[in-house]
Amino acid sequence: MRLILCHCNGLISIPDLDFGPDVRIEWYNDLCKEVVKIDPEEKVVIAGCTPSLMEGLFPEIDAEFVNLKDHIFLMKHSTEKAKELLRAAIAKAKAGPGVKKKSFPIKQKSVVVIGSGVGGLDLAKALTSGGIKTYLIEREPFLGGTVAKLDRLYPEGTPWSHTVLPLISSLIKNRNIEIFVNGEINGIKGEIGDYQIQLKIKPRGVLECNNCGKCVLVCPVSVMDNGRIRKAIYTINTYPYIYAIDFNTCTKCGECVKVCPKKIDLNEKEKITEIATGAIAVATGLKFYDLTKVEEYGYGRYPGVLNTLEFERQIADGGLVPKKVVIICCAGSRDNAHLPYCSRVCCFLALKEAKLVKDRYPQTEIFVCAMDMRSYGNFEYFYTTLRELGISFIKGKPSEVIRRDGSLIVRVEDLYTNELLEIDADTVVLSGGFVPDQETLNMLGIKTEGNFPTLFENGKLGNLQMPRGIFFAGSANFPAGVAETLVDARKCAYSIINLLQKDILESTQPVAYVNEDYCSVCRTCISTCPYNAIMIENERIKIRQDLCMGCGVCASACPAAASRLEKFTTQEISEWIKESTNAGDILAFLCKWSAYNATERAAYNNLHYPENVKILRVPCSGAVEPSHIIQALNLGAKGILVGGCYPDACHYAKGNFRAKTREQILKETMSLLGLSKDRFRLEWIGKDEARKLAAILDEMNQI
């Protein structure tokens, strides 16, 4: 095995290094600049500066790192300690199998885009112009999504058609695209790079069409479609340019067939088709939260209470001419009983509707009730415009809408004036929040937080790859306006093209695995995984290597030590502890995202902690096993520190909370073993909190 050391331009030197004949020792002056060839099969320890830098210098290599610069030379600790740390790292490297290289072939070079709203269309355009074969799937009979149901775009009110129609016309003749309307995903198999999607194409009924519109005149079925009445046979003038039958309401009376000069088939069968794809893009947009659940506002009970979409369509149609309108923001939002989150766009959706009314009917009185008007960035100008138009803003959450003497009454305490108001109105508009298309998310096995995909799933954790090859664009991530959706769709296209260019996706990131000999399928690990990476397959526990992010929480929670994290197995850690720990030492297990960085900061800031502190870099405070701590204490360590991220700031969502819950149990165990509880400490240490870290270590040394 090889020990590669860096002098760091003269900062680091250790005389008389010798770890036996099987360890080759090599010194370099500056590893940042010098090229070192390393056989990926060979075991190697690299010692020099911080591992977070060196990991980047040797991305393909599974090495053990020793931070001589920060932990020894800048800290002015002895070269004897340096030798101990090197010996421990060598022992750890020898003890374990290290990291297995994972590779995922990207077999299919195509993408499935689910949803053809403005996000899906723009994404498809970006992908096809990048030369990627794209399948665009729309559940409804026409392209356009929510945007095509609107009158105007969010929030200023430009017509939706000037954004959507050019996108559609640029797509329909592109040879890289295949469009499926009335399409529903039936099933999905495979993993990143090679998915098989089964698609159900529901019947459209209209096979050939010249848009004469005779069918609509004879159709006897009227349907309320988001505030507007249409027939069971209809068109919305996007694409395809032919009519469609809504078979949920069609009575199959046959009147349309009689007048149609082209071809209608009321008994058309659904079709099933298979698509192979390397990646999936979810552009399913948003759905309106079911406002009938917000009982106190009377939606569904009182005819004058509408949601924003219904209101917009009725105003645009001219079917509704209101005299007095109350718009209620946060209807069911920021509410634990409904949607606990802020849907972000609804405040300005409310203002968009207010402006729509003012444009048409300047005399109409409008009240907007909001707990807080959330106007960020340039939206502030629009907010000012609305005030200038004479809209009355009320601060407060209305308690209820009741009906009295034929008009609707909104009861609200106005926080600006401290008065309890009853506002009478003919129309009440509820600006409710949004939920994603849960059906699609479930089908894809996407873990959600609140309602929307977790940070992990939608790839917001910068340094991680997209593990499943499933991408999210626009409001499928979180409710977004059109401009934001377009930006997001292009970012999404970039990531997809990036993935599909590779033939094989490789990773040397440590992940967890299960030693089946010890596993009793108790399922403890399943509940601990923040990423849904652990599942039961054929009655055995399986950890999906493409989904595991390597936090190690499952491994430390496993009662049988069956679930293990690569490079962090019991043999490896106990070898490290054995070699590094002297009686009277303090062992610090520090999270690599926070507390470990504080050790580097300490070195740069000339802060000092005692020589007898030995530091092990761990993926997460939640990955530290109680057995390791007990082992170190038995070897004579006088104190153990586990340092992690502050509550809610864990890189792996909840690893630090795991560490916290374990603390109590560990301390009880220590009492049983006759060990003083004060010898163990769990602390939250931020990445720049060197002073705090040094103070804690000093304190522990005083005992």
Partner: protein
């Protein structure tokens, strides 16, 4: 035969015997057996503002009495229902349970606490009650008052729909009476503030009495002695204060149901109502 432990509380056995009488007679008709909690005390609600723990311990003691019998508790007062339900949940907390047993009380069997009206709705059922009606009360227009603690807080009761309640209206409707649909069913009678600010309490009571008159109600249905104190016992005071006359009979639901089941007005305790329900009796 369905058996329950009957908890009366403070007000019913002393001030609302007609409610108790009608309840017992209706129960007999419907095959419901009551086992009396003779040692039942005040539910504890009056002391809640003073010290919640004391009030919960009192409530828990009453729950414990029924638990020893292994019977679910039936209550006749909304506030007793909420208080005892709260205690029943609280008994699952270790610290509270420890104090409870330290006082020498026990809670050996897991039991439920429900209002008599809820028992009628859930355990007998609207359909069965409808079948049992012998004299449909066709000519009556009835406004029903739910009262606060029959449904609220919903984390204790988890019953009906707090914003738009239906159960009592359904129960009134099945007697053949016309149910008055009105806004703000959930208004509070004001009983809790009577001791602090009488004028305010009377104002609160007046709101619903006005609604009853606006809807030409023959009578109001109450299911809580607390609410009846406000709408019936204090009706004359409300009238004097607001210079008006309501003369609105206020019946407990079992009294109305009893009439529908064919019981005599005496068996329903109607002669003890403070606002004489003569107008109702004459319409039967």
């Amino acid at each position: 035969m369905k058996r329950y432990a009957l908890f009366l509380g403070c007000t019913v056995p002393v001030r609302a015997q007609h409610y108790e009488l009608a309840t017992r007679n209706v129960a007999k008709e419907l095959g419901i057996e009551f086992v009396d909690l003779k040692e039942g005390s005040c539910c504890g609600f009056p002391l809640k503002a003073l010290d919640t723990e004391t009030s919960l311990l009192m409530a828990a003691r009453n729950v414990g009495l029924a638990s020893k019998l292994g019977l679910d508790v039936v209550t006749l007062c909304n506030s007793c229902t909420a208080m005892l339900s709260d205690a029943q949940l609280k008994l699952k907390e270790n610290e509270f349970h420890r104090k409870f047993t330290e006082l020498g009380f026990a809670y050996p069997n897991e039991i439920k606490v429900r209002h008599f009206v809820r028992i009628l709705y859930e355990d007998i059922g609207v359909e069965n009650l409808k079948k049992a009606i012998k004299k449909p009360l066709k000519n009556l227009r009835i406004i029903s008052h739910y009262g606060c603690h029959y449904l609220r807080p919903s984390y204790l009761h988890a019953f009906d729909n707090v914003e738009n309640p239906r159960t009592l209206d359904e129960l009134v409707g099945l007697t053949g009476a016309t149910v008055i649909e009105y806004q703000e069913k959930k208004l509070c009678c004001g009983g809790s503030v009577l001791g602090i600010d009488e004028e305010l309490a009377l104002k609160m009571a007046n709101q619903k009495l006005l609604m009853a008159r606006d809807h030409n109600a023959d009578g109001m249905i109450s299911i809580c002695p607390f609410c009846t104190v406000m709408y019936e016992d204090n009706q004359r005071k409300v009238e004097a204060k607001f210079n008006t006359t309501y003369n609105l009979p206020v019946l407990y639901y079992p009294q109305l149901l009893g009439l529908g089941l064919g019981l005599t007005p005496d068996a329903c305790g109607l002669k003890f109502n403070r606002i004489k329900p003569d107008s109702i009796i004459s319409k039967l």
